[in-house]
């Protein structure tokens, strides 16, 4: 008849009470282990959010720096024919005005809906790059147009002619604008071609190509017949590095795959300008060009010189973009600060709640055990009268308290393993910015937390029953004679 056996029998003797106590303690302990689980999850979420925000901020900053000397030039949009202003930030899918620049002809026998320049416009890499989200439409223009710019305007370091073209399927739909119905054809883009001149000067010194290569290598100066795919392109074509891919009927070798730094780039594949011109049947034509000033101080003078020389061009400078980018960047910085703040708020809340739960748990054990000791005064007196030492009596009650807590610990871990996400989301503040920058991590119990739960149960059982057990040890055996 060991001490443990007696402890078990004593607990099972008062079944309802034991059950209630175990459930109460179990809930307390489940909260105690769910909170750290939630803290870990929140931390993970905040880390994801803050690292993706940091990335965005860095990219934005890099874009600002990279494009500081960059001046984008394209033919002015001719939206007047539509009678309305296109939505700001891009007007994907509007058919270019008929009778655009001379010489543009769709490729004969090309795939459906191929229209070069449809999504031209902005040629800024990164956040505000060309493609589907570019700034307005651009019309194809003769390649020779920029020749005089380079020769007559001083302060120009280099000029990058670009041909952008989108491949996709034409979708015709009716749009209603203030009562006027207009049938327009939009392009459901499957991929975009960006042809850039692969000269040593441009490739080495200017941000004309994506930088985040995830497989293979980047395009090199002088490459021909090679193509750099985005991850989406790679999936769309079902090809990898070294494979050949057919683009508009012509075979190209995939030299590398890059991870787009912005959504505008996700469908863009890069090739040399001459390849792009050839494959889209646009030899001699480009959709835009980028002028790189020799230094950032020259940008505005160069830009106004270009505008003076070619009034038909839309000229956008880095300064124009920088303010937009800076606004974006400060927005991201605020979001990052708030993500970090919610992380630290999680901490302080978690600590407060754990203190409350620890106190509550110890008090439950304390009062239950005190009540038990009082209720069993006569029994304790008897045990001492028949020769139980103070330490044995104390040990007996400690063991009972600890056993109760350990059973509750098992219950708590069981509850926690099911309800940890619910409990932690109820009790902890949520991390902000999760919708835009990374998913919400779900609280789950780790083996460490399960061990922690047991440890805490034993610790609180010990703490809570220490005083009651001491009280039991101090009961005088004479009580056995008198206590009824």
């Amino acid at each position: 008849m060991g001490m443990l056996n007696r402890a078990v029998r004593n607990i099972s003797r008062r079944k309802t009470r034991a059950l209630l106590v175990i459930i109460a303690l179990g809930f307390a302990l489940s909260i105690m282990i769910s909170i750290p689980a939630g803290v870990l999850a929140n931390q993970k979420t905040a880390n994801t959010v803050s690292s993706s925000l940091s990335n965005v901020i860095n990219q934005t900053g890099a874009t600002i720096n990279q494009t500081l000397t960059q001046i984008d030039c394209s033919l002015a949009s001719s939206n007047s024919g539509f009678g309305f202003t296109p939505p700001s930030g891009g007007s994907s899918g509007f058919t270019p005005p008929s009778g655009g620049s001379s010489g543009f002809t769709p490729p004969s026998g090309g795939s459906s809906g191929f229209t070069p320049g449809q999504f031209g416009g902005g040629t800024v890499r990164g956040q505000f790059g060309g493609g589907a989200f570019g700034g307005g439409q651009a019309s194809p223009m003769n390649e020779s147009l920029y020749n005089d710019i380079n020769t007559t305007i001083s302060g120009i370091a280099s000029v990058e002619p670009i041909l952008q073209a989108s491949e996709g399927n034409n979708v015709t739909r009716n749009l209603d604008f203030n009562g006027y119905t207009r049938t327009i054809t939009t392009l459901d883009v499957t991929y975009e071609i960006e042809g850039v001149p692969l000269t040593a000067d441009l490739v080495d010194n200017y941000p004309i190509l994506p930088t985040n290569i995830t497989a293979g290598s980047n395009l090199q100066a002088g490459d021909s017949g090679d193509v750099l795919l985005s991850e989406n392109n790679s999936a769309y074509f079902g090809v990898g590095v070294g494979d050949s891919v057919s683009i508009l009927g012509q075979s190209f070798t995939v030299v590398g795959i890059y991870s787009p730094s912005s959504v505008s780039e996700t469908q863009t594949l890069y090739m040399s300008l001459s390849d792009a011109q050839a494959v889209t049947n646009n030899t001699g034509y480009i959709t835009s060009f980028v002028v790189f000033a020799q230094n950032s101080g020259d940008v505005s003078s160069v830009a106004s010189a270009i505008s003076a020389l070619h009034p038909e061009l839309t000229v956008t400078t880095a300064q124009d973009r920088e303010s937009t980018l800076s606004t974006e960047e400060s927005g991201y910085t605020t979001a990052l600060a708030s993500a970090n703040a919610s992380d630290s708020k999680t901490y302080s809340t978690a600590i407060e709640e754990i203190v409350v739960v620890v106190l509550a748990t110890s008090l439950i054990v304390l009062f239950v055990m005190l009540y038990t000791v009082k209720e069993r005064t006569k029994e304790i007196g008897t045990l001492k009268a028949i020769g139980f030492s103070n330490s044995t009596v104390m040990g007996q009650f400690m063991l009972e308290g600890i056993l109760l807590s350990v059973i509750a610990g098992v219950v708590g871990i069981a509850i926690g393993s099911i309800a940890a996400p619910t409990i932690s989301s109820l009790l902890l503040p949520s991390v902000s910015g999760t919708t835009r920058f990374g998913g919400l991590a779900v609280a789950s119990l780790t083996p460490e937390l399960v061990l922690l739960g047991f440890g805490v149960a034993i610790l609180l059982g010990t703490l809570g029953s220490l005083y009651p057990a001491w009280r039991a040890a101090k009961i005088r055996p004479a009580e056995a004679m008198r206590y009824e």
């Binding site: 008849m1 029994e379 008897t382 001492k384 028949i386 139980f388 030492s389 103070n390 004679m481």
Partner: protein, 281 residues
């Protein structure tokens, strides 16, 4: 001191030697601002093998005396010599061993642990004495058989009658072969029939096992069946008288003086019951 001390399993001290000596024992309680003298300069010697009854009105100091003898309470003055050991000078971490090894307590309300069966209750005092589980069980069963409870070893207290419960308590008191059984009103909660049974059992143990028994009781009849009756008043022993059990132990009929046997209930010559209903004092 005692071989008996070391070989406590053989315990029962030799008949006739003093097993309990109380010398100039005084006990003062402080109740509020008043000092109450519960025991006053009390002297008493109990020899091994005696069956003693302590009687007296409420507040006479009976329970205090029993507590002091049982090492549950400490005297203010004087000595308690148990089996030659001065228990009044021992600290609590020694006293529990005296209670466990030298004393057997029997309570008015039996005080069995309700969640243990009869055998387990009897095994309790043997815990921590280095006996194997098997030895404990054997001893517990033997003791339960001795008090007439063979076959009821696995019953929990609530399934036993009051008399049976007190028998279990007596078996438990005997578990470590104590020098003295201290019984506090052992018949106080029993009906007449069970009362007689318990007194007979104690008397029998006294005769057959040589167990020293000190019993506190209100019950004159029960006291009369002991060997030596002490009357306590105001913390002093004021009267002492022989009980019928003394006569029986001397093989003499307490009524007519004719020779009797220990097993006799009635005197073979005068036919009177040996344990009479006489008022003790």
């Amino acid at each position: 001191m005692s071989k008996t001390m070391q070989q406590s399993d053989k315990t029962v001290p030799q008949s006739g030697k003093p097993v309990l000596q109380l010398e100039n024992l005084s006990k003062t309680y402080t109740l509020g601002k008043r000092d109450v003298l519960a025991l006053s300069n009390l002297n008493l010697t109990v020899n091994a093998g005696e069956f003693v009854a302590i009687m007296g009105p409420s507040g006479s100091g009976k329970t205090t005396l029993l507590n002091v003898i049982g090492c549950i309470d400490k005297p203010t003055k004087g000595k308690v010599l148990l089996d030659g050991i001065n228990a009044s000078e021992l600290p609590e971490n020694q006293l529990y061993k005296i209670r466990r090894d030298k004393m057997g307590f029997v309570f008015q309300t039996f005080n069995l642990l309700p969640y243990l069966n009869a055998r387990e209750n009897v095994e309790l005092p043997m815990e921590g004495r280095g006996k194997s589980k098997k030895e404990q069980t054997q001893k517990a069963k033997a003791l339960l058989a001795m008090v007439g409870l063979s076959g009821r070893e696995e019953h929990r207290p609530q399934r036993l009658s009051a008399g049976e419960q007190q028998r279990v308590a007596i078996a438990r008191a005997l578990a470590n072969n104590p020098a003295i059984i201290l019984a506090d009103e052992p018949t106080g909660n029993l009906d007449t029939q069970n009362k007689q049974g318990i007194i007979k059992l104690l008397a029998n143990l006294n005769v057959t096992q040589g167990t020293t028994i000190i019993m506190v009781t209100h019950d004159g009849e029960a006291a009369h069946h002991t060997e030596r009756m002490l009357l306590l008043r105001d913390g002093k022993i004021v009267k002492e008288k022989q009980g019928s059990h003394a006569m029986k132990k001397n093989h003499t009929c307490p009524s007519c003086g004719a020779p009797i046997k220990l097993s006799d209930d009635k005197c073979p010559s005068c036919q009177k019951p040996i344990y009479s209903n006489d008022e003790a004092f």
